[in-house]
Structure formats: structure tokens, C-alpha cells
């Protein structure tokens, strides 16, 4: 049993006041993590199993702590394995969570849910997938943020230096619309039987729309234009990733032209370009490869060094709006399968 807090009652007002006094919470009302609710969230799994140790606080994210935050966020137990997998993913070294939490940039981990769990736990991959309105998306993303606040210590100020913050630091979770994808599930690991979770530490979605094109060039051209904005934090970071989340209609228009997912990423890599001299004119500090630094000023350069850094997925419902989500830069996305821990109740 972990530390317990005694309150005069479990009303929303009392709980919120207690959390405010302790410097906890995200400012919104919370569900009281009573022993009964936390036990239900754990669903028989080992509460003391440490999933990750999270910087900068070196907080031990055991299942009990994650479950407590999942209760606070309003999760159902069906959503809990997604939250656990997201925490596990965030702790992978290539995510660079210390930097993600501490930077002045407004980066937030986007949780992308893949596979069977998206359906069984009620995640929204279709119309309005980024919200609002769906409990699973909203609560899972919020639970991850609460874990970062409470366990990782990413509190605005001492643990999170984000200059302006951003709305996606409240919650940032979406499901991949595999059923509407012409390319099948997003790899790697997304074909795990129970499902999988990708974490991508990035900016808010940069929307683009194309209502009129019947071929890929103008649709993807708009994505390419977003990828070459100088305002994105990864504008001149060679390892920077771009998640290009196409709505089903855009994806099918692109696929109808015979383009695979890899073709689409390659097309974007080939067309999302600016002369190297323009980057140099805007940025004295660049995290470029040797080859990028050697480029002549008039040589067109992609903002990232490798087409594999461009990830193409299908999200959303009817309509012709898609988005690009640039990464913070010094971070790499991670996909992990949902775990099936020994001793879990069916």
C-alpha cells in the first residue's frame, strides 16, 4: 500500500482544493482515487510493479501510482493498459523525456492507440478524434499528463519550463483509424494482438485542408508546406520527426494514385524542401548532419535527414482536413505493444 491522504469528504470541491494546496493536478475537477477505485483500475495486476522511473523527479511509476492518476483523470479500467503502455514508451531513452518535460518548447506527448484495444476500450479514431467528446481519448491522454505532473514532477516552473504551455498538455490522445486506412496498421509493433501505443512528443496539430483535389500532389503539397515552416521547433534538426495524420478521404486519394505509405513519406521528403541558405538565414544553431551542413545555399533541403522520420497514419472521419505534427526535435517516437502481465485477470 502506498501513501494515503485523508480528506473530510470526497466531493469535487474538497478534492480540488486539496490538490491545489499541494501543487498537484491540472486545474480541472478530479475523481477521488479511493482504494476501491484504484483496485478496480488495477484489475488484479501487481500494484508494486515498477513500469518506469520518470525524470526529472526520478518518480517511480509503479502500477499503483499510474492507476491512481488514471482514476483521477476519469479513466475506465479498460483504458488502463493504454496508459501503462504509454508510460512504458515514454521511459525509453530515445524519447528523451527529461528534455521533453524540461524544455521551454511547448511539447506534449501525443498518445496514438492502435489495434484491438482502440475498439474494445472505446477510443475514437473517426470524426472528431482529437476531441472533444470521447471519454477514452480524453481520459487516457489526461492520465498520462497527470503521471508526468505527479510522478515525473513536470510541474510548470520547477519541472516544465514551457514558455507558453499548450492545450495538448491537458490531454493528447487519439486512435489510428485502421479500418479506414488504405495501408493497414501503422508499423512497427502495431499489429500486436491486444493493440499497441505510440508516443510522439510534438507540437499541437498543424491543420491543412484540401477540398478539391483528385490527386495526391496538391494534398501532399500542403502537408509539405507545413513541414517547411520555420516556426516549427524541429525546422533544422536532422532527427526531427513529422507525423502526417491523413483523414481517410485524403489517404484514399493518395493511395488511389498507387502510392504506398512509404511512397507517401518519400514524396514528402522529396517535396518538403527549402534552399539550405534559407535555413541558414533563419537559424545560427542547427542540429544538421555533416551532409546537410555541406549543402550549397541554393540546394533544396528537407527539414529532416531521413524519409523514415516522416510517419504517415490515418486518423479522423468524413471531410478533407488532415494535419502535420512536428516533433519537439531532440526526441524519437516509440511504439510498444500492450502488455499482458502475468497474474492479470481476464
Amino acid at each position: 500500500m502506498g501513501p494515503m491522504i485523508e480528506l473530510p469528504d470526497e466531493s469535487p470541491e474538497t478534492l480540488l482544493a486539496e490538490f491545489e494546496a499541494r501543487g498537484w493536478g491540472d486545474g480541472l475537477p478530479l475523481v477521488a482515487p479511493t482504494d476501491e477505485r484504484v483496485e478496480a483500475m488495477l484489475a488484479g495486476t501487481d500494484p508494486d510493479e515498477v513500469i518506469a522511473v520518470l525524470p526529472p523527479r526520478s518518480g517511480r511509476a509503479d502500477r499503483r501510482a499510474i492507476a491512481t492518476n488514471a482514476v483521477l483523470a476519469g479513466c475506465t479500467p479498460a483504458v488502463f493498459p493504454v496508459v501503462v503502455a504509454a508510460v512504458r514508451a515514454l521511459a525509453q531513452p530515445e524519447v528523451n523525456l527529461r528534455g521533453v518535460n524540461a524544455t521551454t518548447h511547448p511539447v506534449a506527448p501525443l498518445v496514438i492507440v492502435h489495434g484491438r484495444v482502440a475498439e474494445t476500450a472505446g477510443f475514437n479514431s473517426g470524426l472528431g478524434a482529437f476531441g472533444p467528446g470521447n471519454r477514452a481519448n480524453a481520459a487516457a491522454g489526461r492520465a498520462v499528463r497527470l503521471v508526468l505532473l505527479h510522478v515525473a514532477g513536470a510541474l510548470p516552473g520547477p519541472g516544465d519550463a514551457s514558455t507558453q504551455g499548450q492545450p495538448s498538455k491537458y490531454t493528447y490522445c487519439v486512435a489510428e483509424n485502421e479500418a479506414a486506412s488504405p495501408w493497414g496498421p501503422y508499423p512497427p509493433g502495431a499489429d500486436a494482438p491486444a493493440g499497441a501505443v505510440t508516443v510522439h512528443c510534438g507540437e499541437n496539430p498543424h491543420n491543412f485542408h484540401d477540398m478539391e483535389s483528385d490527386g495526391p500532389e496538391r494534398i501532399l503539397g500542403k502537408a509539405a508546406s507545413l513541414m517547411t515552416t520555420f516556426g516549427a521547433n524541429n525546422a533544422c534538426i536532422a532527427q526531427g520527426e513529422f507525423f502526417v495524420l491523413l483523414c481517410p478521404e485524403h489517404a484514399h486519394t493518395v493511395a488511389a494514385a498507387g502510392m504506398s505509405r512509404a511512397d507517401t513519406a518519400q514524396w514528402l521528403f522529396d517535396h518538403a524542401r527549402r534552399p539550405a541558405g534559407e535555413y541558414r538565414a533563419h537559424f545560427d544553431l542547427r542540429a544538421w548532419t555533416v551532409e546537410m551542413e555541406a549543402a550549397a545555399d541554393d540546394e533544396p533541403l528537407a527539414p529532416t535527414a531521413d524519409p523514415a522520420n516522416i510517419k504517415v497514419l490515418v486518423v479522423g472521419g468524413a471531410g478533407k482536413h488532415s494535419c502535420v505534427i512536428p516533433s519537439w526535435g531532440m526526441t524519437t517516437s516509440v511504439t510498444v505493444a500492450l502488455d499482458q502481465p502475468a497474474g492479470a485477470r481476464p
Binding site: D9, E10, A65
Partner: protein, 93 residues
């Protein structure tokens, strides 16, 4: 009726590392600069080091750099430990 809830903070894996005690005097102390390569960090830290040396008699003996978004490499940290007693570092945007 009172109610008991779980703490959301969990436990700490290892204690926070506290900064080393400040030296009683900087006279004759070897200082280093760890430039995190933020814009003008090197200029700011260099000027601070020069002024510190002028006022206290400390000696600037070692300078190195790190990426602001990543932890310092072991080579860099070991160099600081080996060469200096006080490190000036850190600059935001």
C-alpha cells in the same frame, strides 16, 4: 465521514542529488564553463567567469560544451570533475 485517497505522486526512486556545498573562498579555485550552446550562453558564461576570476582570484582552466536538450556526455562530465572545483553552466533561451 472522512475518506482516504491514494497519493498520485508515488515514490522517489533515488534521493534528489543536492548541490555540493559552496567553497568558502574562490581564491585560487579552478573553475570551468559548461556551455549548453543556447544562443549567447558562451558569451554570458565567459563574461561571468572573467568577472568572477577578477573579483575573487579564481582561475578559469577548462571549457566544454553540451547540447542543451540532451544530458552531458560522460566524457564531458568526467573532464569537469577532473579539472575543476566549480562549474558555471546553464542558460535559457
Amino acid at each position: 465521514m472522512t475518506v482516504r485517497i491514494h497519493s498520485p505522486a508515488g515514490s522517489i526512486d533515488r534521493p534528489h542529488t543536492e548541490p555540493a556545498p559552496a567553497p568558502a573562498t574562490l581564491e585560487g579555485v579552478s573553475i570551468g564553463i559548461l556551455d549548453n550552446t543556447k544562443p549567447n550562453a558562451g558569451v554570458l558564461l565567459g563574461a561571468a567567469a572573467d568577472e568572477l576570476c577578477r573579483r575573487t582570484g579564481a582561475r578559469l582552466v577548462h571549457t566544454d560544451t553540451k547540447n542543451a536538450a540532451l544530458p552531458a556526455k560522460d566524457r564531458v562530465l568526467n573532464g569537469m570533475v577532473r579539472e575543476v572545483q566549480v562549474v558555471l553552466t546553464g542558460s535559457a533561451d
